[in-house]
C-alpha cells in the first residue's frame, strides 16, 4: 500500500487543534479505511441483500447510524471480511444496482437532512451521487431532488449512478451553485456537501493531501461562504439545510457556518444525535478568529472516533 502523504504543516496544524490527541489522529489517518456499502432500498430489502452476499462469502457489520425505523433494518454495512474472489463491485447484485459502495460517514448527511416523501430537495454539489441516490431511496422515489454539479464530467458520473439506482425523482442541473439564488423554487431541504480540501479522505486516497496548503483552505473557505449564503436564500421557512464537508479545517467548517449565521438571523443550528455515532462539538475559535457561539452545536467527526473518514456536519433550521 502507498504511504499516505501528510505534509508537516498539516501535522503542525492539527497538533494545535487537537493537542495531545494529535498522535492518535495522525495514526488513524494512516490506517486503511473499512469498505462499506449502502443497500438500495428502491430495489431490495437490506436483509435479503445481506443474506445473498453472505452466501457469496462476505461478512458484514451494521453501521449503527443507518438504522431505518420504518424498515426496521440497517441500510449501511461495513464489509468485515470476504472469502469470495474478486471485488464486491463485480457481483450480480452490484450490476443490478442493489447496493452502492459508499463510505460510512458520507451516509450521515442525508440521514440528518431526513428528506420526506413529496418534498423538494436541492443537492447543491451532488456528484458522484451517493447522497442523491440515498435521498431518493428515503423519499421512495417521490417528490423532487435537484442534483447539481457544474462540471460536465462529474455530472456524467452523477447521471450514471442515478440511472443505476433507478432514481426517478431527480432533475440533473449543471450550473454554478451560487446561481440557485436566482431560482424561484423554495426548497424544503437543502444539502450543501461542499467542495473542500478533503483532509478527511486521506485514509481512502493516499495522495489526498498532496496539494494541501493553507492558501487552498482560505480560497475554499471563500467559495463555501458564497455558496452557503446563496443557497440558504432558497430555503423555505421551517426548512432544513445540512452543511457538510470531508475536511476538518475550521476555516471551511465552523467559519462558514458562523458566516451564514451572521447574514441570516433566522437560522439556528440543531445539535446532531445519531445512535452509535461519536461526534465532537464545533470549534469556537481558530487562528485568532472567534466564531458565533452557536457553532458549538456543529458536529466534528474524527477518524479515530468511529473508524471512519474525517467529516464535518451541521444541521441548520430556518425559523
Amino acid at each position: 500500500m502507498q504511504k499516505i502523504i501528510l505534509p508537516s504543516s498539516f501535522k503542525a496544524r492539527y497538533s494545535k487543534l487537537l493537542g495531545n490527541e494529535n498522535s492518535a489522529f495522525l495514526k488513524w489517518c494512516q490506517m486503511p479505511l473499512r469498505k462499506s456499502i449502502r443497500v438500495n432500498t428502491l430495489k431490495i430489502e437490506p436483509k435479503e441483500l445481506i443474506q445473498r452476499l453472505e452466501k457469496k462469502g462476505y461478512t458484514f457489520e451494521e453501521i449503527p447510524w443507518t438504522f431505518n425505523e420504518k424498515l426496521g433494518q440497517f441500510t449501511g454495512y461495513w464489509i468485515k471480511s470476504r472469502t469470495a474472489e474478486g471485488a464486491i463491485g463485480n457481483t450480480d447484485e452490484h450490476f443490478i444496482g442493489y447496493f452502492y459502495v459508499q463510505e460510512a460517514s458520507s451516509m450521515i448527511p442525508p440521514i440528518v437532512l431526513s428528506p420526506k416523501e413529496h418534498e423538494t430537495v436541492l443537492d447543491v454539489a451532488a456528484a458522484p451521487g451517493s447522497k442523491t441516490t440515498q435521498m431518493s431511496e428515503m423519499m421512495h422515489n417521490s417528490g423532487m431532488i435537484i442534483a447539481n454539479d457544474p462540471n460536465i464530467q462529474r455530472l456524467k458520473a452523477l447521471a450514471f449512478n442515478i440511472e443505476k439506482a433507478g432514481a426517478v425523482n431527480v432533475i440533473l442541473a449543471r450550473m454554478d451553485g451560487n446561481n440557485f439564488s436566482k431560482s424561484r423554487i423554495e426548497f424544503d431541504k437543502i444539502l450543501l456537501d461542499a467542495p473542500c480540501s478533503a483532509e478527511g479522505t486521506v485514509r481512502k486516497d493516499w495522495k489526498a493531501l498532496s496539494h494541501w496548503n493553507e492558501n487552498l483552505i482560505h480560497s475554499l473557505s471563500r467559495l463555501q461562504k458564497n455558496l452557503i449564503v446563496n443557497v440558504a436564500s432558497r430555503l423555505k421557512k421551517g426548512g432544513t439545510l445540512v452543511y457538510s464537508t470531508c475536511t476538518l479545517a475550521p476555516e471551511e467548517n465552523e467559519e462558514v457556518v458562523s458566516f451564514l449565521l451572521g447574514k441570516f438571523q433566522d437560522f439556528k443550528i440543531e445539535p446532531i444525535r445519531l445512535k452509535g455515532l461519536k461526534t465532537r462539538h464545533g470549534v469556537l475559535e481558530w487562528n485568532d478568529k472567534k466564531y458565533n457561539p452557536e457553532v458549538k452545536n456543529c458536529a466534528r467527526i474524527y477518524p479515530q472516533d468511529n473508524d471512519s473518514e474525517g467529516f464535518f456536519i451541521t444541521k441548520l433550521v430556518r425559523a
Binding site: N90, F95, I96, E163, A167, V168, A173
Partner: protein, 159 residues
Amino acid sequence: MTLTIMNKQIAEQYLNPLVDKFGISLDIFQNFGFLINGVQEKIWISTKECMQADLNNIRVDTMGLLFARCGKLPNEFKPTTNIMQLFGKHATKNVLNLNDEQKIKFARGLDFEITQEQQQQVSDGFVIVKHLDDYYGVALLQGYRLKNQVPKTRRIKKL
C-alpha cells in the same frame, strides 16, 4: 433537449406496447408522469413534483430517467435496462429466464444463443431478461440469438 409533458391519453398511446408485449399494467405508474423529446423517439419518466416545478433560471440537464426508445412500429418500442431493472417484475409475458451461464454473459454485454425451451416461452423482438427473481434488463431476440442491449457503461468485466 426539449421535453414535453405527455397527458395521460397520449402517454397511454405511446406506452401501449408495454401492455401488449409485456403485460405491464400502466396503473403501476400512477405516481409518475411521462415526457417525450421533440422528435418523439425517447420517453422519459419522472415524478409529478418534478414536472410541475418552476425551473426558470435552472440549467436543467435531464429530468427523471430515460424510460424507452420508440420507433414508428410497436415492435420497435424498447424499454431501457434501468427501467426494466426497476419495473420488470410487473411483466407477465415475454420475460426470458436466463440460466447461470447466460446471466454472466448478459452482464458482460455478450450476445448468445438461447435454448429451444427458452425460445418457446417468448416471441421475437425485445424481451425482458431475468435470472431467478432478479431483473437484468432488456435484450433483442431474433430466433435463437439474443442480442445484448446492456449499455457499455453498465457492462461488467468479470462476474
